[in-house]
Structures are given as structure tokens and as C-alpha cells.
């Protein structure tokens, strides 16, 4: 028995893009009119091939080849439109490839959505059977796992209630519970894990990890880099329908964040005109990485540097530069400041650099408020909402909760857990 679970050779998928108005493309009158037109053309110019100028070809996947070994957990990352979903759809046989060949060794179950085929009018019990069979379980298999599924979903009491009366949390739990009990040799998962409350997510991910450890092959698509890094043993970076990087998740994710996320320079410069009247003003500021390159996408385990460039018009004593970090909701996370101890002269440039240590900020977008002031006396210059940047999770301890608000910083707390003394003794 070969140890290759999935072998993909020269896979391609072509879509036809219509330049007609959307919705018109499949209208009956359009089909009839074009049919008549083409037929007329063929009648007039029988030698010419019929072209359809209104349709343009688009290759969602092109010449894709890869091999996945049994037991591998492969994360597929890439920007929107890179072809990830198309690849999953072809692997799960929802749509046909245009070219190429795929060999799948083992039963494939695909989970492109939780709760596919759930019917709101049916009870929890009925939906377990329905959803299970849609996902490819046999009736005996469902019978066998039924109690386990119910226990996993924690819905014992509501088993005979129509799911339309469920809370959304219960609904999702039930849906995932069914999916989690699939036992295929190859599991294809789209971004479906970001469901339910945090506790349930952890449970799901635990389940996912055991699936991988049992030697099943998992293909996992996600935008949540932390999860990919934590769950997968390998990763592919897909761009424009082709795999451009393959390797360990960490290296692939780094490449992805480096090259593909819109890594614009968040260079903030002055825009108001009266800065010349200020004693000192902030000329520009930007975030850079440890190599001094200006970027906006950071990994959670690398330090973030903010450089502030000031221009002195007239020196005053006790000038202090301060920066406050704010989160999306405009809450201040911390403020840090430093008094300029040296004397500067007119037209001197001052460059201040702040290092935010690695493993401090939780994965979120942030921005700065930067100010130059004299403590308790006056604010000389202030820039707010500048130098926005994002921290990406590269498999932190809390990667399970990626996408949820679990705070802004990774607090290095110590835990001391004492064994509970039994009351009976």
C-alpha cells in the first residue's frame, strides 16, 4: 500500500467569465438569441469556427501538481481568489477539473461548511441522521456514534426539538458535532472552525488534532495563520492558481505575510501647515521590523519598532516624546514616553525609536497616537491614528481563539495550581 494519500497532477480549472450583465448570462432569452445568432453565422460563414467573444476564460487553478502523504496535515493559505476554495471543491468532487488528474487513496469527507443540509423544521435527532448521511456516513455508523455526537454537542435535552428553536450556539455545536465524528481517511476542511464560543472552539480543535494524530490526512484552508501553524505539519502557499511556496507552516506563513499581505508602508507625515510655528514637530513616523524595513504586518513573536522623526525649530527644556498604542476600538493599551535629555539646536533632527517586545501584543490591528510635549505644561505636537499595523498569530498559545477578542496582550502570568484536598478524607 502506497503511503501517498493524494496525488494531484497538472490540475486546472477554467471558468468562463461573462461580460454580459450578471444574471443575463443564463437567461433563457439570451441563450435563445445567441443560439440563433451563432446558427445564423454558421449558415453565412460555414467555414469559420464559432467564437464567443462575450465569454472570457479564467483559470482559477492552473497546472497544479502536488503529493500529500498519508497522515500529513496540510494547510493551504493564500489571498482571497488564490484558488483555495476551487481546489477544495475539486478535491471533494463538487466540481470537475478542466484538466489534470487526481488520485485519492481513501475515503474523502469534505467539510466546506458546518451544518450542510440541516433542515430547520426537523428535530435535532433527525438532523443528525440527515446531516450525517449528507456528509457520507452510513446509517449504522450514525447509529453507533449517535450518543457520542449528542454528548459532544451538549444538546441532550433538546434532541426532539426542531432545530429552528435552537439558539445559534446550540445549532452550531450540533452541526460541528456531527462533522467531528466523521471518520474518513482524508478530511478536507474549509474555514469552518471559527464557529461557536471559545470553549467549544477549543473542543473542536482538540478533536481536529486527534484526527491528525490518528494518521488521517487533513487538508485545511484558513486565513487564521495561528491555527494553520498549530494544526498543520505542512503548508502550501497558493497564488493565482499555483503553489508558489511549500514547506513547514512557519516558513510558508512568513513568506505569505512578507509578500502577499498588503504590506504597505504606514509612513505618517505632517499635513497641517502651521507646524513651522511649533517649537518641535513630528516630521514623520513609521513601524519597522528588526531589520529596519518598514512593514505593517508583524508576527506575534517578533519585536515591533516605531520610529519617530522630529524636527526642532526652537529648543525648549524638558521636551518629552510619547507614544500611546491604541486598539481598533480606540482604547489605549499603553502609553510610553521618554524625555529628551540632550540639548538640540534649531533645525536639528531627532529620531526616536520605540521597541515593543516580541510576544507582547495579541494578534489584532493597532495604531499609534504620538505626541511631543512638556510634562504638565503643554502639548507641542500630536499625531493621532497613525502608523496602523497588524500583529499576526504564528501559533501562539492562544491561537485557538484567533479571531475572538481575548484581550490585547499576551500576559506572562504564572499559574500555581494546588491539588484539591478531597473532602471525604
Amino acid at each position: 500500500m502506497s503511503d501517498v494519500a493524494i496525488c494531484v497532477e497538472n490540475l486546472g480549472k477554467k471558468y468562463l467569465l461573462s461580460h454580459q450583465q450578471e444574471g443575463d448570462r443564463y437567461a433563457l432569452r439570451y441563450a435563445i438569441a445567441n443560439g440563433v445568432k451563432r446558427w445564423g453565422k454558421r449558415l453565412l460563414h460555414p467555414r469559420q469556427g464559432v467564437t464567443r467573444p462575450e465569454l472570457e476564460e479564467f483559470w482559477a487553478l492552473q497546472d497544479l501538481s502536488f503529493e500529500i502523504k498519508r497522515g500529513d496535515r496540510v494547510g493551504i493559505i493564500g489571498r482571497n481568489g488564490a484558488g483555495k476554495s476551487t481546489l477544495l471543491k475539486i478535491l471533494s468532487r463538487i466540481t470537475e477539473p478542466t484538466t489534470g488528474r487526481i488520485t485519492l487513496n481513501g475515503r474523502v469527507a469534505s467539510l466546506l461548511e458546518v451544518g450542510t443540509g440541516f433542515h430547520p423544521e426537523l428535530t435535532g435527532r433527525e438532523n443528525i441522521y440527515l446531516n450525517g448521511s449528507i456528509l457520507g456516513m452510513s446509517r449504522q455508523e450514525i447509529n453507533r456514534k449517535f450518543d457520542e455526537i449528542v454528548a459532544f454537542a451538549e444538546i441532550e435535552k433538546f434532541l426532539d426539538t426542531p432545530v429552528k428553536r435552537y439558539s445559534s450556539g446550540m445549532y452550531v455545536r450540533l452541526a460541528f458535532a456531527v462533522a467531528a465524528h466523521l471518520e474518513p481517511e482524508i478530511l478536507v476542511i474549509d474555514e469552518v472552525l471559527a464557529v461557536g464560543d471559545a470553549q467549544f472552539q477549543k473542543k473542536c480543535l482538540g478533536k481536529m488534532e486527534t484526527v491528525g494524530k490518528e494518521g488521517r490526512t487533513v487538508i485545511f484552508v484558513s486565513h487564521q495563520m495561528g491555527m494553520v501553524n498549530q494544526l498543520c505539519s505542512k503548508a502550501f502557499l497558493l497564488n493565482q492558481g499555483q503553489i508558489i511556496v511549500r514547506g513547514t507552516p512557519a516558513t510558508v506563513i512568513q513568506q505569505y505575510l512578507g509578500d502577499f499581505v498588503s504590506n504597505t508602508v504606514n509612513h505618517a507625515t505632517r499635513s497641517d501647515h502651521n507646524y513651522q510655528t511649533k517649537e518641535i514637530y513630528i516630521d514623520h513616523a513609521e513601524t519597522v521590523n528588526s531589520k529596519g524595513i518598514a512593514i505593517t504586518e508583524f508576527m506575534h513573536n517578533e519585536p515591533i519598532f516605531l520610529t519617530i522623526h522630529c524636527q526642532v525649530n526652537q529648543w525648549l527644556n524638558h521636551i518629552t516624546i510619547s507614544a500611546a498604542l491604541k486598539d481598533r476600538q480606540n482604547r489605549k493599551i499603553f502609553t510610553t514616553e521618554s524625555e529628551l535629555s540632550q540639548q538640540y539646536r534649531t533645525n536639528d533632527k531627532v529620531t526616536a525609536c520605540i521597541k515593543i517586545p516580541a510576544n507582547l501584543l495579541a494578534p489584532n490591528p493597532y495604531f499609534f497616537e504620538i505626541a511631543v510635549h512638556i510634562r504638565g505644561v503643554k502639548i507641542i505636537d500630536l499625531l493621532d491614528e497613525v502608523c496602523s499595523f497588524r500583529v499576526n498569530d504564528l501559533g501562539s498559545e492562544l491561537a485557538h481563539y484567533e479571531g475572538l477578542d481575548y484581550g490585547c496582550i499576551f500576559a506572562p502570568c504564572e499559574w500555581i495550581i494546588n491539588p484539591l484536598v478531597s473532602q471525604n478524607q
Binding site: 441563450a31 470537475e96 481513501g106
Partner: protein, 280 residues
Amino acid sequence: MSHSSNPKPSTLIIEAGKTEKHYWRDLWRYRELFYFLAWRDVLVRYKQTAIGMAWALLQPFLTMVVLTVVFGRLAQLPSDGAPYPILVFAAMLPWQFFANSLSACSNSLITNAHVISKVYFPRLIVPASAVVVSFVDFLVAGMMLLLLMVVYNFVPTWRIIFLPLFVAIAALASLGAGLWLSALNVKYRDFRYIVPFIVQFGLYLSPVGFSSNVVPQRWRLLYSLNPMVGVIDGFRWAILGGNFHLYLPGFFLSLFLLLVLLISSLWYFRKTERTFADII
């Protein structure tokens, strides 16, 4: 299929343009899904209705009353020796079966679009299970026929044993027309509006409210171009017994057309099926 009991993993090869090979085997493998989908639709059909399954009785019954009054009483059409309500009801059964299947089938792929775009299975299962649901209604409505027979003290002849054969023909007719419409509806939603017309006109174009013996002999063959004529005549022949004569050339023409319809529908469905997920 239960792979968990099967230690050897099966190998599946997906090749561009060659998915045909697995199709009929897959259809067999997914028979449980077929069963579950049909079961779901039957369960859901009369949920949250006050009189539930009684709708399956009430609809054909009321239609039968109207048709009996219009064609039997007002128009005084002949009833081939059977009580007019039974004459009408014997035709109502296959007609309602066909009409319900047609509407259910044509919408089936659209209403299951979310499943089709997320999971693989032979799509043929979806319209086929829609036919099964209509078949359940058909069986329920069949009770009404029994009741009518008791009321009119009408005893069927030995021909009744052929009824299952005609039921099968009716089912195939429903599937054939249903497959065409379901596949066309995926691409051209116009058929959502066309189907109710077919059903509405069909009721009068088919010999539901009257016996097909009313049609002048020289037009009979032409009339039989409507495949439902053969199906309905078959039902009447089996149920009404002695006095009803089956016009054989017409019957076989209808049967032949039904076969053409079924085969062509399978061909068209299979041809378009692979693109369903892309365009639905």
C-alpha cells in the same frame, strides 16, 4: 457505504472529463442519502400544518368534485359505465402524481443548492427523491379512491393487478419530465414560471376530467402524443375494468414517447450535472 468496516482504502481517480465511470456505482453507494433526502422531504412537507397529510387527500378530492360537476354534470360527458367521480379520480391519481412531481422536481435542485455547492453526491438523487415524496402523496390519495369505490359499491375486475405496472410507468414519466425541468431550471430560472403553466394546461390537455374515448377516433393518435394520455388511460383500464377500452396504438405511442423522454432526460441531466455546482 461503510468504509469503516472496510480496512482497504478505496482509490478514487478524478480525471478531467472522465467522472462518468463512477456514476452508476456512486448512485448505488449513495442510496442511503437518497433514502434520507426523501425521508426529510416527507417529514417536512406537512410540518406545521393544521391538517397535515389530509392535504394529500383534500386537494385531489376537491379537484375531483369540480371536474365531476363541470364535465360530468354540466357538460354531460359519458363516463364509460363507471360512476363519474371514480372515472375522474382514476385519472386524478396519476395526474396529481405527475404534476406534483413536476413542480417538486423542477425546484428540487434550486432548493437544495446549498447542499449541492458544498457536498458531492450524484445529483440525480435530488429530483428522484422529489418524485418519491410525490409518490407518498399518491399513495395517500389512493385511499380516497378506495373510499369512493366503497361508497359507489364499485368492484374492480382482475385488471386491477396490472395497476402497479401503470404506477411504475407514471413514476418513470414523472422522473423523465422532472429531470429535464430540474436540469433546465438550474441554468434558466425561467422554468420556474413555465412549470406552473405546464401543470395548469396539462390538466385540461390530458384526459383527466373526461374519458379519452370522447376524443374523435381520427384524432386519437395525435392526442396520444401527450404521454400522459397513455398513463391515464392505463390507470383507467386497470381500475374501471370491462367498459373501458384501451386504444392500443395510442397507448404504445405514449409509452414510446415516455421512454424517449426518460432516456433523453437522463442524457441531458448527466451532461449538465457536472456544472451544477458552478452555476447554481
